[in-house]
Symmetry: D2
Subunit: 307 residues, 4 copies
């Protein structure tokens, strides 16, 4: 792939390593973050590797006005809407035919609205491409991207996303990347809590949670949480439950994604009873002081000492 | 293995084919059911295969009094308790050192109580060995047995169970077979409903449930229901959702197993919020007239026409 | 009270009778609705009573530019935000010191934002005053208003609201009217469903729901749904359950208010597990085709024939 | 009423003061408890009041064999079943036409079974009469009794129950006393948690919980928990929330009654989703160490500091 001029906006714990991986792949980056310190940290890390082409911009406008590709990685729906459509209105700053990729996890309705405005007012190409894989995946370039875009835009975005990730899924048209991400994470929360309940229930009868995990992993209870991310301490190595729930995917981030699932449930008038209860349980767990722990720590909510 | 004298009590849709498979393996069976018709059907099916040794008894006592092994397959906890410990008191009819295997799915507390009485009053060997795999698995001899018993008893039971099933798990001491079965099925119900909610939510945004299933199957939402038993019609062949939810594992049977999970939650004072809600949703689904459909039909509860 | 120039925007099933009651009290009204038909219906109803002073405006701007008081009654948060702060920006059209009363039921965060902008940019007086009591209460002038405003603004608003309602509560500062309304309706939904569950459970054991209602009404289960709005047909006269759930407060409106409660739960990171489940059950009930019925029809969700 | 020979079995914190009140009304009591200490405490308290006629029996049989009325107050279903129908079989010890009143809170199915056996084997009169009102009500003689019995038996039981309580409800035939009690307490738990959620949600937006309580008490959110037993500290005097949740009705007792509601839901195949979630939340609250606190302490589960 030919080297491209890429504007990267949003240099947090996810965005920074993603931008660096794009530069390592030979692209020319111009980066921006509302926090000056985040910009400086990115530039310093880039300096350690002499061949990288990264410079910074003073404003979103300056960052994007000459770019062929714009990538954004922001915290929530209002940030994305404000940046693209608000007072600064990014979609007015970019050149025609620019490829816009928003990697934030946001409400599908916002993703659709931004894409619709982008296409309506200007002939821009837009994709929503939320990620999973966490900061470790961002650093290693092994993220998963779930992309909502028309086929042509997906084909253009894919080789760029492949410099930051390993699995690139095409979920459908604009907004569908967000829909698939939200549905997946809601389902993940549900089977994580379900796994925690099953292991706790078994243990309360004196059953060894390791044996119970083995049996259910070979039976119809099988799921990702049980097999690859067991929430009970001492069953698997190298998962958060074996290091006091440090690292991993924080309860507060899961609670945020579940909040998006409930916004989507309301917006589409869909019924998601287990999703709603999972949302409340993660919110409860956070309110009790566990917001920064890995989300598999939900097993501790059930209040009996583990270990 | 040497041919054994086996008493088999409980010749319903599961018990009958299980008994026939034991006879096919060369064992001598004496069978009993409280329903005379069930006994007759078993004998008639046996007659089609000339080599099988199966005869019937007029009472549980007559069935078991000369047996080396007794296997029971009954509908619920009270039936099991009444048969073994009640007025007829099976444990007083059997010879010393008889191996007793109860394949019913019942409350762990009942399984423990029966085993405890059997051991206390007589030197009997007892195992709880609930099955999964349904009537198809019973016919094919591919059931899964989850066994609660001491190690010696498990070793004796295993070669017999292998004539009826493919996977024989040792879950722990008496009652643990039931615990593991109940935990597994509670977790299964949770991820089935979770999968149904996720697919319905995605679909309400216009997302193709087939693509969504593919993406989640390769992501952290992955689970047995999604991968092997997809509840949305038209995604997989040869699953109940592709034949109007006929066959499979009935809603009412899942509701019964979930009831056991909530009895276990009460008895052990464990908290199982998603398990409790799943129980209620299956009960609601049944009350709305779907009790005989396969349990993956829960996706229809959410009320928007599928397909 | 001296007659005032009042602009009334939003002439739906609630707004129209409210506006008429203000005119009946001697105020001069200038009314507006985005739907021309709603304006015409209001003017025609006004004509039947010769003394009323009501005229219509062609735009929000025209309606409010000379008003002493502006009252708005709109469907949802985005409508309110757009009207007051959006492209037309009502807060720039009004005179200084105008009293603004928004009677819509919306998100507390939106109410706070609008009030804050109104006060920041212009020295305006703003109150949020969501109502309860339904269309019957609006016609009879017996609504309940729950008001969020500073004390001075509340004192100014109260005599005006008293022309449309009977109970005027001061809940606190801006936004608190919405908070109290949302909390009340969430609690109402919870005890309505709880009452429905209790009556259905009792009935399934053969208990007379009328006797059960009497006993619980004199015991600690007592609540507004049970005493004044019994969901089981045949227990009370003149409630929706006695007329096939026609009239009253629609399932879809309750679902909307519950949606606001869950938005508020997310925004404040509060945990509302029963509120979340009530939300889902109303959404499920609506999806099954009961959206237009009174909210006490939730008892029918449980699927056993009543009556 | 003529003085009667009454056998009273079960002298715990509820039974002891109930028995004393019967003796104060002039009845002759013969008491029994499996714990000798409970018998002694009852006799000692009786001695302080010289006119009371109370003596103790060495066995249930001795207590009841000459009694005209037998009253039992036991912890749970298995205790009641064992006492009346088990090895000692109380129903074989009593004289013909004895009036049996079981004041325990137990499963309706057990109450029905015991009454059915009592009537079938012997011409006995049986009532289930679970109480509410707690130890304070037991001491003051102001309990509420909810009675399941035929009309003749109810008429005989009523004057006796009136010596121990203030409100005596006739719920229907045998078992209906239990049904009504369980339904009432399930509904109580639901509106207590709902009230706690609503007050917590309001507070998280800065709303004064006292003002919010006042507004909802005059609105459709009104319920017994809110008006008479407010769970938020500092709103009412003389309720458990104003004395650190000491005294009152313990979380573990509420969890027990909720367990009965879920047993009843399973047995009758009724759907009680909020009841099931309330059960789990009380169990969770207990598991986190609050089992001995008053049940209004559930507001603390939501984890934000109150007061």
């Amino acid at each position: 792939m030919k080297s491209k001029q890429i504007a990267f906006l949003g240099l947090g714990n996810m965005g920074r390593p993603m931008a660096l991986n794009l530069a390592r792949a030979g692209h020319s980056l111009i980066v921006y973050d509302i926090m000056e310190a985040a910009v400086q940290q990115t530039l310093e890390e880039a300096k350690k590797e002499t061949t990288l082409s990264i410079k910074s911009a003073k404003s979103p406008h300056e960052a994007v006005c000459e770019a062929e590709v714009v990538i954004t990685m922001l915290p929530s729906s209002p940030h994305v809407k404000e940046l693209y459509l608000g007072s600064g209105k990014l979609i007015d700053s970019v050149k025609d035919a620019t490829l816009l990729i928003d990697c934030s996890t946001i409400a599908p309705d916002t993703a659709k609205e931004v894409a619709s405005e982008a296409k309506k007012r200007r002939a821009l190409l837009m994709a929503d491409a939320p990620v999973s894989g966490g900061t470790a995946g961002a650093a290693a370039g092994t993220l998963t991207f779930i992309v909502g875009a028309d086929a042509q835009t997906f084909d253009l975005a894919k080789p760029i996303l492949e410099k930051m990730g390993k699995n690139i899924f095409h979920a459908g048209t604009n907004g569908m990347g967000q829909v698939a991400k939200i549905c997946n994470n809601m389902l993940l929360a549900i089977h994580m809590i379900g796994t925690a309940e099953a292991l706790s229930l078994g243990k309360s009868f004196g059953m060894d949670p390791k044996i119970l995990s083995e049996i259910m992993s070979k039976s119809s209870g099988r799921n990702w949480s049980l097999e690859l991310y067991n929430p009970h301490p001492g069953i698997m190595e190298n998962v958060p439950s074996s290091r006091a729930y440090q690292g991993g995917f924080a309860v507060d981030l899961m609670a945020k994604d579940l909040g998006l699932s409930q916004e989507a449930s309301a917006s589409s008038r869909s019924s998601t009873p287990l999703g709603a209860l999972a949302t409340q349980l993660y919110r409860l767990h956070s309110a009790q002081g566990s917001g920064k722990l890995d989300f598999s720590s939900i097993i501790e909510l059930f209040g009996k000492k583990l270990g």
